[in-house]
């Protein structure tokens, strides 16, 4: 029920914001997203090259805003991820955001 809710809310918010995007975000596989995040993003986002980043560092709305215009994400040009992978990563960050029902534990 909780995931369905997430999907609905995410979809509703996306629609509501009327942001044009290449594909609709939300409803991905957050668990796989966690794996993909570790594999692809953690190597820089570890407090070294880039800021240490956990889902709980931002609110769901902030993650939404971040991903609504991926061109503004500095490293996005270097990504070699499929749209599905990006959506999984987004879902992970969104599902465990700081104002989510299960905020990621501090890490």
């Amino acid at each position: 029920m909780h995931r369905k809710f997430m999907i609905l809310t995410a979809a509703a918010l996306v629609l509501g914001m009327s942001v044009s995007m290449a594909f609709a975000l939300g409803g991905g596989n957050g668990r796989k997203g966690k794996f993909l995040y570790s594999k692809n993003c953690r190597s820089c986002h570890n407090g070294g090259t880039a800021a240490d980043l956990s889902p709980a560092d931002r609110t769901q709305a902030e993650w939404q805003a971040t991903f609504s215009d991926m061109g503004k994400i500095k490293c996005s040009g270097d990504w070699t991820l499929s749209d599905e992978d990006i959506n999984d990563i987004y879902t992970y960050l969104y599902d465990y955001a700081k104002d989510s029902p299960s905020p990621a534990k501090c890490s």
Binding site: H2, F35, S38, K98, P101
Partner: protein
């Protein structure tokens, strides 16, 4: 003085005459005895070494100093520099020696030989044990996919390695002890304030204690701080409890509230505070969301309504509301840590949180505080991904707002019994004992019988271990090196502790870390445990230079981070970014956005509601075999009010049978007017199935056998006050 001189003369006379009797009795030499007495006035090098440790007799990790003589701990003392516990060590902490040197400790790996629970074991070598654990886990994964294995870990400084093993292995099914404890309370406060608060009772002027029992149930900073607040700052304490607990006895006011009606009381407080405008309008305007909805919502919940429900006079409810509001923001409804009680426990706790919201006490002295920065870093790892796996946890989607990291033991158990939506056939358990703590023990036994293979790592033969296939002896908290742990003690401190061994490990015991490392290596997952605990700690402390040395010196490191005003300039971690009196997400999910009171079902005629309660001398099933604590709490009894006891012909000390819809137990009655007529109570942890708990087996009653297995419908937290029992005198 005349008396003294006479005495001395008599004394000298006997000394002079040599006191043959003393020598004949083989007593200590005369001079030896005198020397001891005189030595007391001079400071000497003690006979012991002093080493820092971190207590583990409950979950609060109080700093301690172990006094070690010839490799043996002879005394555990508080670490005076450990501000979080206000420099104390409680009775359980003092009894740690009996835990470490318990003759019933597990001494070597044991493999089940007979049927589950028959108690037939074979000693096997460690290598064989780890080979077998790994092989069986591999078989389960082969047959049922990675999620076909459940991992359960109690609260421990090494439990994070069980999570790591589960994730490396590929199972999402991990449960902690919390869904048998406090997640509904955490849920309610998180969903109101955006985080789970610490209570600054030290600076509070008015505290309402409901569903918590701070002076009796456990001794942590809040216990000491509340006492200091009362004795030195004139704080007023009002307690609602169906039992006359020690907390009740020490309170300014106590009301034996009807069980299950706490929410009515809270909504009536809100009714008075809102209706009479006893709040800070600016704070409510700036910091909260949903005041207008709340105003409408609480209209029917008058003190008169609550009085009928709770059995507390309406004028007292109204007066308490006014006093509480007058003391705001340095006043609170204590958030408590009590396990959940009813199917609407999250909503009950929401009503507590909402009253706190009205008091404007968040992030302010004497109110509820957010978590402070401790500075410890997480140690991330790149878990593997298995495409061939189930999509989600077995308990996923069955309650709307479970905590992903804690799971729900109750929902998981039901799901495993029904193979819904998939089978789980393997179970790895570390240092937690659901067989003794989860309601409806018969169901937990049934769950055990579903399993192909169960591995339990613990220090003693718990009831959960008793039903396992493989039992591995772990080390006590005085024998091992542990990762660092960040702790907060309300306003006292934010600090970091670590554990280093103070004595050599006993028997063949091994730390959990070595065990999971051994298993992981055999499953070709060694890369996830390719480090030592020292290296792990270095990573944790990367942002705290010098902290390690300070811990070596003081036994604890403090981070002097901000205590109050943490939220100045920041938004709350809720959807509205404010304190959510009205919860928007609940509305979207079809959950009551404001708590709606439903009167509890009353016990049928001649039955009682069985309530649970904690005791600072008992840590569930893990201390009832402790020789020292056993002297304080030798057994459990059934508290029964003299009124019904008389009608049932039950006298104090009589053996009675307590039976519920799911089980029955025999226990001695304690006939006392410290409990309501419609309620009975007993302690947990007694009458173990395991015969290797000599002081607890066959002693008293197991509450897990009698409690029925409902749960909170929002979080899946076990609901422990749903059980009605009959009590009959047992003919001896």
């Amino acid at each position: 003085m005349a008396q003294t001189s006479r005495t001395l003369s008599r004394r000298e006379f006997f000394k002079a005459s040599g006191l043959l009797a003393a020598g004949a009795l083989g007593g200590p030499a005369l001079l030896g005895g005198l020397r001891t007495a005189q030595a007391a006035t001079e400071t000497m090098t003690p006979a012991w070494d002093s080493r820092f440790g971190v207590c583990d007799m409950c979950f609060n990790k109080c700093g301690l100093i172990a006094r070690v003589e010839n490799g043996v701990v002879t005394k555990l003392d508080p670490n005076p520099k450990f501000v979080k516990s206000r420099g104390m060590l409680c009775a359980r902490g003092n009894a740690g020696i009996s835990h470490v040197y318990d003759p019933d400790r597990l001494k070597h790996p044991l493999l089940r030989k007979g049927g589950r629970g028959e108690g037939k074991w074979q000693r096997i070598p460690w290598d064989e044990a780890l080979d077998m654990a790994a092989q069986k886990m591999d078989e389960v994964r082969e047959k049922y996919l990675p999620c076909g294995h459940l991992f359960t870990a109690g609260t421990d400084m090494q439990s994070l390695f069980v999570e790591r093993l589960a994730e490396a292995y590929g199972s999402f099914n991990l449960t902690s002890h919390e869904s048998l404890c406090l997640v509904s309370g955490s849920r309610a406060f998180l969903d109101t304030f955006g985080e789970v608060p610490f209570a600054d009772v030290l600076h509070s002027k008015y505290v309402i204690m409901v569903g918590a029992n701070r002076f009796e149930a456990l001794v942590t900073p809040d216990s000491m701080d509340l006492m200091t607040a009362m004795r030195e700052h004139g704080c007023k304490l009002v307690t609602l409890d169906p039992r006359y607990t020690k907390t009740a006895a020490l309170s300014d006011e106590w009301y034996p509230i009807r069980p299950g009606t706490d929410m009515a009381f809270m909504l009536a407080l809100a009714h008075v505070i809102v209706g009479e405008g006893l709040y800070d309008p600016q704070w409510i305007e700036e910091k909260t969301y949903g005041m207008e909805q709340l105003r409408e919502h609480v209209k029917p919940y008058t003190p008169g309504f609550a009085a009928e429900q709770c059995g507390i006079p309406a004028e007292d409810i109204a007066r308490i509301a006014r006093e509480l509001a007058a003391a705001a923001p340095a006043s609170m409804v204590y958030p408590g840590r009590r396990s959940s009680d009813y199917e609407d426990s999250t909503q009950i706790r929401r009503s507590f949180a909402i009253v706190n919201g009205l008091l404007g006490n968040w992030d302010r002295p004497g109110g509820l505080l957010g978590a402070r920065a401790v500075g410890l870093k997480g140690v991330p790892y790149d878990a593997p991904w298995y495409d061939d796996n189930h999509d989600d946890r077995i308990d996923a989607g069955k309650v709307p707002m479970m905590f992903e990291h804690e799971g729900s033991f109750m929902v998981t158990r039901d799901s495993i019994l029904a193979d819904d939506p998939y089978p789980i056939r393997g179970w790895f358990v570390y240092k937690t004992n659901p067989m003794a703590t989860a309601p409806n023990r018969a169901k937990t036994i049934e769950m055990m019988h579903k399993m192909d293979f169960v591995t339990v790592v613990d220090i003693a033969m718990s009831d959960t271990a008793w039903y396992a296939d493989l039992v591995l002896p772990s080390q006590s908290y005085l024998e091992r090196i542990d990762p660092c742990s960040g702790l907060q003690g309300s306003s006292a401190c934010a600090c970091v502790v670590k554990r280093d061994p103070v004595i050599e490990p006993l028997y063949e015991s091994r730390p959990l870390f070595d065990i999971v490392k051994g298993i992981a290596g055999r499953l070709d997952l060694g890369e996830y445990f390719d480090f030592t605990i020292e290296q792990f700690r270095e990573k944790q402390l990367a942002d705290l230079p010098g902290a390690d040395g300070i811990m070596d010196r003081d036994g604890v490191y403090y981070n002097p981070s901000k205590v109050y005003g943490i939220y100045d300039g920041l938004v709350y971690k809720t959807l509205s970014q404010k304190v959510e009196l009205y919860n928007q997400r609940y509305e979207q999910m079809g959950i009551d956005p404001l708590p709606v009171y439903t009167p509890p079902v009353q016990p049928p005629a001649n039955q009682f509601r069985l309530v649970v309660g904690r005791n600072a001398l008992v840590t569930q099933g893990s201390t009832t075999n402790n020789t020292l604590l056993h002297e304080f709490v030798p057994t459990n009894t059934l508290w029964l009010n003299p009124g019904p006891a008389g009608k049932l012909g039950i006298a104090d000390g009589d053996l009675v049978e307590v039976s519920s819809a799911v089980g029955r137990q025999a226990i001695r009655a304690e006939v006392t007017d410290k409990i309501r007529e419609d309620t009975v109570y007993m302690l947990t942890g007694f009458n173990t199935l395991s015969t290797q708990q000599r002081l607890a087996h066959g002693n008293g009653a197991s509450i897990a056998e009698i409690l029925d297995g409902g749960y909170d419908t929002v979080t899946g937290n076990a609901a422990l006050h749903l059980t009605f029992v009959t009590v009959t005198r047992k003919v001896a």
